[in-house]
Protein backbone atom coordinates (compact mmCIF):
# COMPACT_ATOMS: atom_id res chain seq x y z
CA UNK A 1 0.00 0.00 0.00
CA UNK A 2 1.23 3.47 -0.80
CA UNK A 3 -0.13 6.85 -1.76
CA UNK A 4 0.24 5.92 -5.44
CA UNK A 5 -1.85 2.79 -4.97
CA UNK A 6 -4.65 4.79 -3.34
CA UNK A 7 -5.02 7.20 -6.25
CA UNK A 8 -7.97 6.45 -8.53
CA UNK A 9 -7.21 5.56 -12.15
CA UNK A 10 -8.46 8.43 -14.37
CA UNK A 11 -11.94 7.69 -15.72
CA UNK A 12 -12.90 5.40 -12.85
CA UNK A 13 -13.90 8.12 -10.37
CA UNK A 14 -17.62 7.62 -11.03
CA UNK A 15 -17.45 3.99 -9.90
CA UNK A 16 -15.81 4.80 -6.58
CA UNK A 17 -17.76 5.55 -3.40
CA UNK A 18 -18.02 9.10 -2.08
CA UNK A 19 -16.04 8.13 1.01
CA UNK A 20 -13.12 6.79 -1.02
CA UNK A 21 -12.89 9.86 -3.26
CA UNK A 22 -13.03 12.12 -0.19
CA UNK A 23 -10.25 10.11 1.41
CA UNK A 24 -7.93 10.39 -1.59
CA UNK A 25 -8.63 14.08 -2.19
CA UNK A 26 -9.16 15.39 1.33
CA UNK A 27 -7.51 12.75 3.46
CA UNK A 28 -4.29 12.90 5.48
CA UNK A 29 -2.14 10.81 3.12
CA UNK A 30 1.20 12.35 2.36
CA UNK A 31 0.49 15.33 4.63
CA UNK A 32 1.17 15.30 8.33
CA UNK A 33 -2.13 16.42 9.84
CA UNK A 34 -2.33 17.82 13.35
CA UNK A 35 -4.84 17.10 16.10
CA UNK A 36 -5.89 20.76 15.97
CA UNK A 37 -6.98 20.27 12.35
CA UNK A 38 -9.40 17.46 13.20
CA UNK A 39 -12.85 18.09 11.79
CA UNK A 40 -11.48 19.81 8.71
CA UNK A 41 -9.89 16.84 6.92
CA UNK A 42 -11.29 13.44 5.99
CA UNK A 43 -10.15 10.95 8.59
CA UNK A 44 -8.72 7.48 8.01
CA UNK A 45 -11.26 6.02 10.41
CA UNK A 46 -14.75 5.56 9.01
CA UNK A 47 -18.05 4.78 10.71
CA UNK A 48 -17.72 1.76 12.99
CA UNK A 49 -19.90 -0.36 15.28
CA UNK A 50 -18.23 0.45 18.62
CA UNK A 51 -20.39 1.60 21.55
CA UNK A 52 -21.42 5.24 21.96
CA UNK A 53 -18.95 7.25 24.04
CA UNK A 54 -16.25 4.56 24.08
CA UNK A 55 -12.88 5.92 25.23
CA UNK A 56 -11.13 3.24 23.17
CA UNK A 57 -12.67 4.66 20.01
CA UNK A 58 -11.42 8.11 20.93
CA UNK A 59 -7.93 6.71 21.48
CA UNK A 60 -7.97 4.84 18.15
CA UNK A 61 -9.18 7.96 16.34
CA UNK A 62 -6.32 9.99 17.83
CA UNK A 63 -3.83 7.22 17.04
CA UNK A 64 -4.78 7.41 13.37
CA UNK A 65 -3.94 11.13 13.39
CA UNK A 66 -0.63 10.41 15.12
CA UNK A 67 0.65 7.84 12.59
CA UNK A 68 3.57 9.46 10.75
CA UNK A 69 2.93 7.68 7.44
CA UNK A 70 -0.51 6.05 7.35
CA UNK A 71 -0.04 5.09 3.68
CA UNK A 72 2.99 3.00 4.63
CA UNK A 73 1.54 1.42 7.77
CA UNK A 74 0.06 -2.01 8.44
CA UNK A 75 -2.10 -2.65 11.50
CA UNK A 76 -2.32 -5.97 13.30
CA UNK A 77 -5.01 -6.78 15.81
CA UNK A 78 -6.91 -9.67 17.22
CA UNK A 79 -10.30 -10.52 18.68
CA UNK A 80 -11.54 -7.84 21.05
CA UNK A 81 -13.29 -4.49 20.89
CA UNK A 82 -10.49 -2.56 19.18
CA UNK A 83 -10.70 -4.54 15.95
CA UNK A 84 -14.27 -3.29 15.39
CA UNK A 85 -12.86 0.18 14.67
CA UNK A 86 -9.46 -0.90 13.32
CA UNK A 87 -11.12 -2.85 10.50
CA UNK A 88 -12.95 0.36 9.49
CA UNK A 89 -9.74 2.26 8.78
CA UNK A 90 -8.30 2.60 5.31
CA UNK A 91 -5.06 1.01 6.48
CA UNK A 92 -4.35 -2.68 5.76
CA UNK A 93 -5.39 -4.67 8.81
CA UNK A 94 -4.30 -8.21 9.64
CA UNK A 95 -6.58 -10.10 11.97
CA UNK A 96 -4.09 -12.20 13.93
CA UNK A 97 -5.28 -15.22 15.82
CA UNK A 98 -5.48 -14.81 19.56
CA UNK A 99 -1.98 -15.06 20.93
CA UNK A 100 0.07 -14.59 17.79
CA UNK A 101 -0.27 -10.86 16.97
CA UNK A 102 3.34 -10.03 17.85
CA UNK A 103 4.66 -13.16 16.13
CA UNK A 104 2.79 -12.18 12.93
CA UNK A 105 4.10 -8.62 13.27
CA UNK A 106 7.69 -9.87 13.65
CA UNK A 107 7.55 -11.87 10.43
CA UNK A 108 5.74 -9.12 8.58
CA UNK A 109 8.21 -6.42 9.58
CA UNK A 110 11.19 -8.57 8.58
CA UNK A 111 9.54 -9.38 5.25
CA UNK A 112 8.77 -5.72 4.56
CA UNK A 113 12.37 -4.74 5.30
CA UNK A 114 13.57 -7.21 2.67
CA UNK A 115 10.92 -6.30 0.10
CA UNK A 116 10.97 -2.50 0.49
CA UNK A 117 14.57 -1.48 1.04
CA UNK A 118 14.07 2.18 0.12
CA UNK A 119 10.76 2.81 1.86
CA UNK A 120 10.22 2.53 5.60
CA UNK A 121 7.10 0.49 6.35
CA UNK A 122 5.58 0.76 9.81
CA UNK A 123 3.96 -2.17 11.59
CA UNK A 124 1.66 -1.38 14.50
CA UNK A 125 0.05 -3.99 16.74
CA UNK A 126 -3.08 -2.73 18.46
CA UNK A 127 -4.95 -5.13 20.70
CA UNK A 128 -6.61 -5.25 24.07
CA UNK A 129 -5.22 -6.10 27.47
CA UNK A 130 -6.53 -9.66 27.10
CA UNK A 131 -5.00 -10.09 23.66
CA UNK A 132 -1.56 -8.83 24.69
CA UNK A 133 -1.06 -9.38 28.42
CA UNK A 134 -2.96 -12.66 28.86
CA UNK A 135 -3.38 -14.69 25.71
CA UNK A 136 -0.65 -13.08 23.61
CA UNK A 137 1.77 -12.71 26.51
CA UNK A 138 4.55 -15.03 25.33
CA UNK A 139 4.59 -13.65 21.77
CA UNK A 140 4.68 -10.09 23.13
CA UNK A 141 7.57 -10.85 25.48
CA UNK A 142 9.58 -12.72 22.88
CA UNK A 143 9.12 -9.99 20.27
CA UNK A 144 10.61 -7.60 22.84
CA UNK A 145 13.48 -9.92 23.74
CA UNK A 146 14.31 -10.27 20.03
CA UNK A 147 14.19 -6.46 19.65
CA UNK A 148 11.73 -6.65 16.76
CA UNK A 149 11.24 -3.20 15.27
CA UNK A 150 7.51 -2.49 15.53
CA UNK A 151 5.09 -0.73 17.88
CA UNK A 152 2.81 -2.54 20.31
CA UNK A 153 -0.16 -0.55 21.57
CA UNK A 154 -2.22 -1.99 24.38
CA UNK A 155 -5.82 -0.77 24.59
CA UNK A 156 -6.11 -1.37 28.32
CA UNK A 157 -9.78 -1.40 29.31
CA UNK A 158 -8.98 -3.65 32.29
CA UNK A 159 -11.63 -6.24 31.40
CA UNK A 160 -12.73 -8.71 28.71
CA UNK A 161 -15.40 -6.31 27.47
CA UNK A 162 -16.37 -8.27 24.38
CA UNK A 163 -17.34 -11.48 26.16
CA UNK A 164 -19.33 -10.23 29.13
CA UNK A 165 -16.88 -8.89 31.71
CA UNK A 166 -14.32 -11.49 32.80
CA UNK A 167 -11.30 -10.24 34.73
CA UNK A 168 -8.03 -9.97 32.82
CA UNK A 169 -4.45 -9.79 34.04
CA UNK A 170 -4.68 -6.03 33.72
CA UNK A 171 -7.80 -5.68 35.92
CA UNK A 172 -7.20 -3.84 39.20
CA UNK A 173 -7.17 -5.89 42.42
CA UNK A 174 -10.62 -5.99 44.00
CA UNK A 175 -12.51 -4.92 40.87
CA UNK A 176 -16.06 -6.34 40.82
CA UNK A 177 -17.20 -7.50 37.41
CA UNK A 178 -20.10 -9.52 36.07
CA UNK A 179 -17.92 -12.59 35.64
CA UNK A 180 -15.72 -11.80 38.65
CA UNK A 181 -18.39 -11.46 41.35
CA UNK A 182 -15.99 -11.90 44.29
CA UNK A 183 -13.68 -9.19 43.05
CA UNK A 184 -10.28 -9.80 41.51
CA UNK A 185 -7.86 -11.40 43.96
CA UNK A 186 -4.57 -10.47 42.30
CA UNK A 187 -2.70 -7.31 41.39
CA UNK A 188 -2.73 -5.65 38.00
CA UNK A 189 0.14 -6.96 35.86
CA UNK A 190 3.08 -4.60 35.62
CA UNK A 191 3.51 -4.55 31.84
CA UNK A 192 5.57 -1.35 32.01
CA UNK A 193 8.06 -3.06 34.34
CA UNK A 194 8.21 -6.10 32.05
CA UNK A 195 8.80 -3.87 29.04
CA UNK A 196 11.60 -2.10 30.90
CA UNK A 197 13.24 -5.41 31.81
CA UNK A 198 13.04 -6.64 28.21
CA UNK A 199 14.81 -3.51 26.97
CA UNK A 200 11.98 -1.87 25.02
CA UNK A 201 13.34 1.35 23.47
CA UNK A 202 10.32 3.55 24.18
CA UNK A 203 7.61 2.90 26.75
CA UNK A 204 4.62 5.15 27.45
CA UNK A 205 1.58 4.90 29.70
CA UNK A 206 -1.25 7.38 29.19
CA UNK A 207 -4.98 8.06 29.11
CA UNK A 208 -6.84 9.79 26.27
CA UNK A 209 -7.39 12.99 28.28
CA UNK A 210 -5.02 15.03 26.14
CA UNK A 211 -5.53 14.46 22.39
CA UNK A 212 -2.32 16.22 21.29
CA UNK A 213 -0.27 14.14 23.69
CA UNK A 214 -1.80 10.88 22.41
CA UNK A 215 -0.91 11.75 18.82
CA UNK A 216 2.63 12.84 19.72
CA UNK A 217 3.30 9.70 21.79
CA UNK A 218 2.11 7.48 18.92
CA UNK A 219 4.25 9.40 16.45
CA UNK A 220 7.34 9.04 18.64
CA UNK A 221 6.69 5.32 19.21
CA UNK A 222 6.30 4.58 15.49
CA UNK A 223 9.36 6.62 14.51
CA UNK A 224 11.56 4.95 17.13
CA UNK A 225 10.30 1.49 16.12
CA UNK A 226 11.42 2.23 12.56
CA UNK A 227 15.09 2.59 13.43
CA UNK A 228 15.87 1.70 17.02
CA UNK A 229 13.82 -1.13 18.49
CA UNK A 230 10.51 -2.27 19.95
CA UNK A 231 8.17 0.33 21.43
CA UNK A 232 5.21 -0.09 23.77
CA UNK A 233 2.25 2.13 24.62
CA UNK A 234 -0.19 1.21 27.36
CA UNK A 235 -3.34 3.31 27.14
CA UNK A 236 -6.22 3.39 29.60
CA UNK A 237 -9.36 3.16 27.49
CA UNK A 238 -12.22 2.49 29.90
CA UNK A 239 -15.07 0.12 29.10
CA UNK A 240 -18.13 2.20 29.92
CA UNK A 241 -20.38 -0.86 29.59
CA UNK A 242 -18.62 -3.28 31.95
CA UNK A 243 -17.59 -0.61 34.46
CA UNK A 244 -21.01 1.08 34.21
CA UNK A 245 -19.72 4.58 33.44
CA UNK A 246 -22.44 6.87 32.02
CA UNK A 247 -21.22 8.07 28.61
CA UNK A 248 -21.12 11.81 29.50
CA UNK A 249 -18.76 10.87 32.38
CA UNK A 250 -16.29 8.80 30.33
CA UNK A 251 -13.66 11.53 30.16
CA UNK A 252 -14.21 12.53 33.80
CA UNK A 253 -13.46 8.90 34.68
CA UNK A 254 -10.31 8.97 32.50
CA UNK A 255 -9.11 12.15 34.23
CA UNK A 256 -9.92 10.66 37.63
CA UNK A 257 -8.04 7.40 36.96
CA UNK A 258 -5.16 9.38 35.46
CA UNK A 259 -4.74 11.50 38.57
CA UNK A 260 -5.29 8.62 41.03
CA UNK A 261 -3.16 5.81 39.65
CA UNK A 262 -2.50 5.75 35.90
CA UNK A 263 -0.68 8.99 35.26
CA UNK A 264 1.38 9.85 32.21
CA UNK A 265 4.74 8.18 31.97
CA UNK A 266 7.41 7.93 29.32
CA UNK A 267 10.60 5.85 29.43
CA UNK A 268 12.95 6.42 26.54
CA UNK A 269 16.33 4.78 25.93
CA UNK A 270 19.41 6.91 25.20
CA UNK A 271 19.67 5.54 21.69
CA UNK A 272 16.01 6.34 20.98
CA UNK A 273 16.41 9.84 22.38
CA UNK A 274 19.45 10.47 20.20
CA UNK A 275 17.47 9.27 17.17
CA UNK A 276 14.54 11.63 17.94
CA UNK A 277 16.97 14.52 18.41
CA UNK A 278 18.60 13.75 15.06
CA UNK A 279 15.17 13.90 13.37
CA UNK A 280 14.45 17.27 15.00
CA UNK A 281 17.83 18.65 13.93
CA UNK A 282 17.27 17.48 10.36
CA UNK A 283 13.82 19.09 10.34
CA UNK A 284 15.18 22.41 11.61
CA UNK A 285 18.00 22.36 9.05
CA UNK A 286 15.44 21.76 6.29
CA UNK A 287 13.38 24.75 7.41
CA UNK A 288 16.38 27.05 7.36
Amino acid sequence: MSLKNMTITPGWEKYMTKEYIDLVERGPYGKQKKVSEMGSFKEILEEHPMCAGCAMTLFIRLTMVGLPNPEHTILIGTAGCGRLALTQTSIPFIYGNYGDTNAVASGLKRGLEVRFKDQAKDVVVMAGDGGLADIGFSAVMHSWFRKERFTTIMLDNEVYGNTGGQESGMTERGALLKMAPKGKLFDKMDMIGLAKTSGVAYIARLTPTNPTRVASVVRKAVMIAREVGPTFIQAYTSCNIEYAIPTPKVLDDARDIESKRYGFMEIISDEAKAYLDSIDTAKKAKKE
Binding site: M38, G39, G53, L58, T247, P248
Partner: protein, 94 residues
Protein backbone atom coordinates in the same frame (compact mmCIF):
# COMPACT_ATOMS: atom_id res chain seq x y z
CA UNK B 1 -36.58 8.81 18.89
CA UNK B 2 -33.09 9.75 19.99
CA UNK B 3 -30.94 12.69 21.01
CA UNK B 4 -28.14 14.18 18.94
CA UNK B 5 -25.64 16.92 19.69
CA UNK B 6 -26.48 20.35 18.36
CA UNK B 7 -24.05 23.26 18.31
CA UNK B 8 -25.11 26.88 18.73
CA UNK B 9 -23.03 28.42 15.98
CA UNK B 10 -23.43 31.97 17.21
CA UNK B 11 -21.56 31.04 20.41
CA UNK B 12 -19.13 28.65 18.71
CA UNK B 13 -17.98 31.04 15.99
CA UNK B 14 -16.81 33.54 18.59
CA UNK B 15 -14.23 31.22 20.12
CA UNK B 16 -12.53 28.84 17.62
CA UNK B 17 -11.47 26.48 20.44
CA UNK B 18 -12.12 23.29 18.41
CA UNK B 19 -12.01 21.08 21.52
CA UNK B 20 -15.20 19.16 20.68
CA UNK B 21 -13.75 18.07 17.32
CA UNK B 22 -10.78 16.53 19.16
CA UNK B 23 -12.66 14.74 21.94
CA UNK B 24 -15.55 13.25 19.94
CA UNK B 25 -14.98 9.46 19.76
CA UNK B 26 -16.55 9.24 16.30
CA UNK B 27 -14.54 10.17 13.21
CA UNK B 28 -15.72 13.14 11.10
CA UNK B 29 -18.83 13.63 13.21
CA UNK B 30 -18.21 17.08 14.63
CA UNK B 31 -16.91 18.91 11.58
CA UNK B 32 -15.19 22.28 11.52
CA UNK B 33 -15.84 24.99 8.98
CA UNK B 34 -12.63 27.05 8.81
CA UNK B 35 -14.27 29.86 6.81
CA UNK B 36 -17.21 30.39 9.17
CA UNK B 37 -15.06 29.43 12.24
CA UNK B 38 -17.69 27.12 13.65
CA UNK B 39 -18.15 23.46 14.46
CA UNK B 40 -21.26 21.58 13.33
CA UNK B 41 -22.59 18.06 13.67
CA UNK B 42 -23.14 15.37 11.04
CA UNK B 43 -26.26 13.92 12.66
CA UNK B 44 -26.12 10.58 10.84
CA UNK B 45 -22.88 9.78 12.67
CA UNK B 46 -23.71 11.14 16.12
CA UNK B 47 -24.29 8.32 18.62
CA UNK B 48 -25.50 10.71 21.34
CA UNK B 49 -22.83 9.99 23.97
CA UNK B 50 -22.79 13.62 25.21
CA UNK B 51 -19.00 13.74 25.65
CA UNK B 52 -18.90 16.94 23.59
CA UNK B 53 -21.47 18.57 25.91
CA UNK B 54 -19.21 17.91 28.91
CA UNK B 55 -16.16 19.19 27.02
CA UNK B 56 -17.91 22.39 25.90
CA UNK B 57 -19.47 23.07 29.32
CA UNK B 58 -16.67 22.07 31.73
CA UNK B 59 -13.40 22.26 29.79
CA UNK B 60 -14.04 25.06 27.30
CA UNK B 61 -16.79 26.75 29.39
CA UNK B 62 -18.62 27.96 26.29
CA UNK B 63 -21.93 26.12 26.76
CA UNK B 64 -22.57 25.96 23.03
CA UNK B 65 -23.61 22.30 22.70
CA UNK B 66 -26.99 20.88 23.70
CA UNK B 67 -28.57 17.48 23.15
CA UNK B 68 -31.82 17.72 21.21
CA UNK B 69 -34.33 15.29 19.72
CA UNK B 70 -33.53 14.47 16.13
CA UNK B 71 -37.19 15.15 15.23
CA UNK B 72 -36.93 18.70 16.59
CA UNK B 73 -34.24 19.58 14.05
CA UNK B 74 -35.68 21.49 11.09
CA UNK B 75 -32.73 20.92 8.83
CA UNK B 76 -29.88 18.42 9.22
CA UNK B 77 -26.40 17.81 7.83
CA UNK B 78 -25.76 14.17 6.93
CA UNK B 79 -22.27 13.13 5.90
CA UNK B 80 -23.50 10.04 4.02
CA UNK B 81 -25.57 12.28 1.74
CA UNK B 82 -23.28 15.28 1.33
CA UNK B 83 -19.86 13.66 1.56
CA UNK B 84 -16.87 15.43 3.06
CA UNK B 85 -16.70 18.54 0.86
CA UNK B 86 -15.46 21.57 2.82
CA UNK B 87 -15.38 23.67 -0.38
CA UNK B 88 -19.18 23.37 -0.66
CA UNK B 89 -19.84 24.53 2.90
CA UNK B 90 -21.54 27.88 2.73
CA UNK B 91 -20.99 28.91 6.33
CA UNK B 92 -24.63 28.30 7.18
CA UNK B 93 -25.01 24.94 8.90
CA UNK B 94 -28.18 23.45 10.31
Amino acid sequence: MYLVAHIDQAICSETACRLCTQYCPEANTILYDNAAKTAFVAVDRCKGCEICVGICDDLAKHHAIKMIMITDLQDTFELSKEGFRPESWTGKHP
